[in-house]
Symmetry: C2
Subunit: 430 residues, 2 copies
């Protein structure tokens, strides 16, 4: 019998516990598929005494995760601590420097420091694997970086945050407001007590930055991602979207445009017939478009102990089998230096909802603002009449540049008859 | 500059032409992702003189494809001739025997001779790659064999034949009959002039046999697949399906049951809310369920020059990068010997449509037949009344064993009042 691959796991939360459980429960088939047993031999976590419902007997314990990198009996380090900096980063850097392959589920780390870490892995000649960092158990990293590797990708888009998708789904199905559904999601454990990472789009932006780097073969560029969350989406907008034949989804989208790579996370209206419009609840989905393959979509569970462990273990099996791919799909010298394009250069159609005083002349003022900035309307909806009171007015524009839309919004906001900041949601073609 | 990987392509039809085009058109990014250029240097096809719209200048030509295996300047052989036997098989065997890696798009070859070919590849120590054999450009082989490699898979199911899915989609959307839509599909090039490979389910069965082998880690077993095609699906059944909340799809399904592996291709009624129910037209989709990952679905184009070339080229890049996986996911000695279960052991719910004479006592005879074989009804639909004439009666059963259903069908067919062979369609849970 070959000596097992000796794995150290840093972080024994939901994901770390799932990895231990999977390696034990499916040891027979993992050994068959890897061609060699894979065994966790060392662990590190914050609290040694905590009952995790999983036996740590026989495992070497380290209070300091970085010590795992220096344990000579450790072949591979699994980092599931999380966070762009701190112990996670220190451990990954130390492991790579020590010439040990690393498997991580850490999207923040990859998004923020992935360019340097890829260089460190390349210098050390060891793999840095991160299938679990995006879309949980759905093998999107593998699909983009290996499965579609001969294609020129024009666009990658995804539902990358299950918490947001769950909240938007419940808002639509029940006609409830964001704050209300968020509070319930927190009680159910679908949202964190501090939800901002999820609902403000940051988690999705980390994942999009990674997907964009893989799709376009360039180093990760998190700072170039335009990020908006879902706090401002209201039940009223969701109802209007349904009426117009759309669903509202928080998407991460990266596109190759003539000027460079566009990368953005924001609520979108997508046609309800688009496959991604039907991905509801906590599910994630990623759509990729390549010049030869056409459009493919992958969907599944994007988080949780099981799906994340599935991705981590598949990375470990790849490492045992010596299936290695450069972090961003090509060696550092062969990566693209395509520029990022700023959001002001974005061109698309927009949904606008204004709360206006129902009195003569208001619509004329609104449409004059659009006209003055060269924005043409595809449709307008006005629901109900209550003279002198606030009524919603919905405008759907033809394609226009973001910078023109920003100017229109500033002017509409300044109008006396417009009572709240207008709601703007970009319309994403199927 | 590293010497390019020298590739021989056997078969210059749609797929072979696509492979040449992709390797040329995307040479820059393929070189970056492979870490080395990939160049076709030799080809073989039936007719040297035919204009394929692609230059063969500078390529060595062989009339006999097997000669490619013996060309010392060829590093890798791509087989896109097709067919389970004949020159395709001879070439693949010769190439493996010569120690050359093989990439093939040939599902028939893999389904029928895949067990021996896997052994030959293992003996030679060279990869035999076949991403293009199932679901075209969708990387399902990679997802199952590498992406989900740590999971115990309980079920894999898919829309594996675009021609059938196109025909069923048009039948539903237009209310037209099979023969009629098939004739149009042939004119449009979506169906072959001899359509039996597609519409009788054989092509889907080849692909299912491959997926089942990968999902359950055992040698491919095409003969164990139960196969039915779509010729007997009528517009009337599609209309009833819609009324009952189902869509009719030709699915390939492999399941782990207590008794062993069940593998079957047949028309299914799937709940219209199931993601796979919405995959329409020529698109393919594969759903896999693993114990840790949960359910994932991949969808995209399952055929055509571009998608198939995408899969072939990704296999070539894997070979250059030395990313190798045993054919059925594990070395021959580590494969499972789980038995196949015969279709008679299948248990599920059934849709039955009878054309009966509208006269008193008929329904009593029909329901007595069901009762006598222990089959209980979930619902019954009878549309229209025309005393003394033929009317359709639809029965939906609770779960029952296939052997009991066969006995019921024999008895119903023998009833005087039943005017045609009953239509039976299995109901597949979401």
């Amino acid at each position: 019998m070959t000596r097992p691959l000796s794995v150290a796991v840093a972080g024994l939360g939901t994901v770390g516990g799932g990895v231990l459980a999977m390696l034990r429960q499916n040891a027979d088939l993992i050994t068959a598929r890897a061609g060699r047993p894979i065994a966790v031999t060392a662990v590190s976590a914050r609290d040694r005494g905590r009952d995790r419902g999983i036996s740590l007997a026989g495992l070497r314990w380290y209070d300091d995760p970085v010590a795992l990198a220096h344990d000579p009996a450790v072949d591979v380090v699994v980092e599931v601590i999380g966070g762009a900096d701190g112990p996670a980063r220190a451990l990954v850097e130390a492991a790579l420097a020590a010439g040990k392959p690393v498997v991580t589920a850490n999207k923040a780390l990859l998004a923020v420091h992935g360019a340097e870490l890829a260089n460190a892995a390349e210098r050390a000649g060891v793999p840095l694997a991160f299938e679990a960092a995006v879309a949980g158990g759905i093998p999107v990293i593998k699909a983009l970086r290996e499965g579609l590797s001969g294609n020129r990708i024009s666009r990658v888009a995804g539902i990358l945050n299950g918490t947001c998708n769950y909240i938007l789904t419940v808002m639509r199905e029940r006609g409830r407001e964001f704050a209300d559904v968020l509070a319930d999601a927190q009680k159910l454990g679908y949202a964190e007590s501090d939800p901002s990472f999820d609902v403000d789009g940051i988690d999705a932006a980390h994942k999009l930055a990674i997907l964009a780097a893989l799709a376009f073969g360039r180093p990760v560029a998190f700072d170039a991602v335009h990020v908006e969350g879902i706090r401002r989406v209201s039940a009223l907008d969701i109802a209007f979207a349904t009426e117009l034949g759309y669903r509202i989804k928080l998407l991460g989208i990266a596109r190759q445009t003539e000027a460079g790579i566009e990368a953005r996370v924001h609520p979108c209206m997508v046609p309800e017939a688009a496959p991604i419009a039907r991905v509801d609840g906590v599910f994630n989905a990623v759509v990729a478009e390549g010049d030869f393959v056409g459009r493919i979509m992958l969907e599944g569970r994007g988080a949780g102990a099981g799906p994340t462990a599935s991705a981590v273990v598949s990375d470990l099996i790849d490492i045992v089998r010596n299936r290695v791919t450069p972090v961003w799909g090509a060696a550092s010298g062969a990566l693209s230096n395509a520029p990022s394009v700023p959001m002001e250069a974005y061109v698309g159609a927009y949904y606008l909802r204004l709360m206006v005083v129902d009195r003569p002349g208001v619509i004329a003022d609104v449409t004059a603002a659009l006209r003055d900035h060269g924005v043409s309307l595809e449709s307008m909806l006005q629901r109900g009449r209550s003279p002198g009171e606030a009524v919603p007015v919905v405008l759907v524009t033809h394609e226009v540049r973001e910078s023109a839309m920003s100017a229109v919004l500033a002017r509409l906001t300044a109008l006396d008859a417009v009572l709240e900041d207008p709601t703007m949601i970009r319309i994403e073609p199927a």
